[in-house]
Amino acid sequence: MSLIEVKGLKKSYGDLQAVRGLDLQIEQGEIFSLLGPNGAGKTTTVEILEGFRTRDSGSVSVLGVDPQIKGHESRIWRNRIGIVLQNSADAGDLSVSETVEHFSNYYSNPLNVQEVINSVGLDEKQSSLIRTLSGGQRRRLDVALGIIGNPELLFLDEPTTGFDPQARRAFWSLIQQLRNDGTTILLTTHYLDEAQALADRVAVINHGQIVEISTPTELGGRATAQATVQWRDGAQIKLEKTDNPTALVSKLSAHFGGEVPEVIVTRPSLEDIYLEMIGNPNE
């Protein structure tokens, strides 16, 4: 059985159908990324999987358990998962290390507090009160609290919002490290380079429905999409779409007798494909 199994999931808020019949299967050990425009239903879906929201219909199994579970069973289940919510904040009168240390006491088998603080790059801030942290630093603390319990399954809802580029790269290697150690990760993000760098598979959601599930390189037929070759011919810039860019470039090379002036070969980026898939936002 898959680590996460969702069938026919539906959820409405009043008249608004936020999730309309969603199917998902996430396998042990993969990094699975949810992509989709604002309001697509990503957070709603993820929070149903986390047990924060109820569903209207459909079946959900996370680590073999229905997230609506209550009581002691729920504690044992939560002991195995880590959650980084899209929005969270704390009163802020505790220091970083006090907070991480405290949360580590909730779990049966927590990671080392100092190592977790170092891994999110807060070692220099560990004695600072939370309320003195910058936005990106707070977000890193959220990540630290999400992983302190050494989870088998980690939910990350837009974890790197507000990270500087360096912190984002550091975060990516942290997530890859966790995956190498066996953690399954469900990542929601608006950064396509992040999905590209991390995800084994991505699902594009729009209007509460799955548009496509694929690997980042194959999404929307990206791997087989036509390449564009661009070069300079005298005063003119020329463009040609082709299925065989290598053949075209060697033909051009023969034509120019060696080097092709200003040659560029491109394929559609993940972002190009993604934007095409979700279509006109006013639709």
Partner: protein, 264 residues
Amino acid sequence: MNKVPSALKIGLRRGSLEIKQFSRQRESVVFTLFFPVILLVIFGSVFQNTIAPGVTFSQYFVAGMIASGLVNTGFQALAITIPMERDVGALKRLRGTPMPASSYFIGKAILIFASMAVQIIMLLGFGVLFFGLEMPTDISKWVTFTWLVILGSACSTALGIAFSIVPKSGRGASAVVSPIVIILQFFSGVFFVFTQLPTWMQQVAAIFPLKWLTQGMRSVFLPDSFAAEEVAKSWEIGRTFVILMLWLAIGIFFSVRKFKWDRD
């Protein structure tokens, strides 16, 4: 490996964390701990009349202030701060961990007991030094005092947690909760001598715990002869115990069943 830490163990840790957090919030420390003392100084200085042979209003008032301290530090503080914690998402984050609800409640109870202890010491100190309060010498009075404080704090904590589901937001919480507490204090004979209040006020007050706590505290700090001045011509200790237990049960029931971790 799946042996999660016990609810009590986590609860004790939460208690010390809550105290640490509270002690760093200077405004709330001043407000919850010193406000009753300030009130005592004001009322005790203004009303120095004698209300019965050997009983001054300030003595009567200290007893009432200790009782309403239980309501202020517990019920009022929790019913206001919990919705604030909910607003910033701190409760939702806790809900996402294996921490059980009972640990959160234990932590709050520990915080309330601790701040109550500090407050009582200050009130008794000021009462004895400046307002003619006499410490009881009879051991049975101290027994009554001890269970009143413990049961009163527990009751106040449970009702504060339960009532935290009422305010829609942290910002509006104070506007909902504070008037209730102030009215209750007027009705329950904290600011006025209870028997001088209109009968209907006395009857309304008798539904709620504060009246019983104040009467109980009077039984500890006023001479036994004063019992004859009470509405029932006695201290009604047994009835006080039963009513507080009932409210404690109501508070726990709603806290466990209805506690809200999330804004929506």
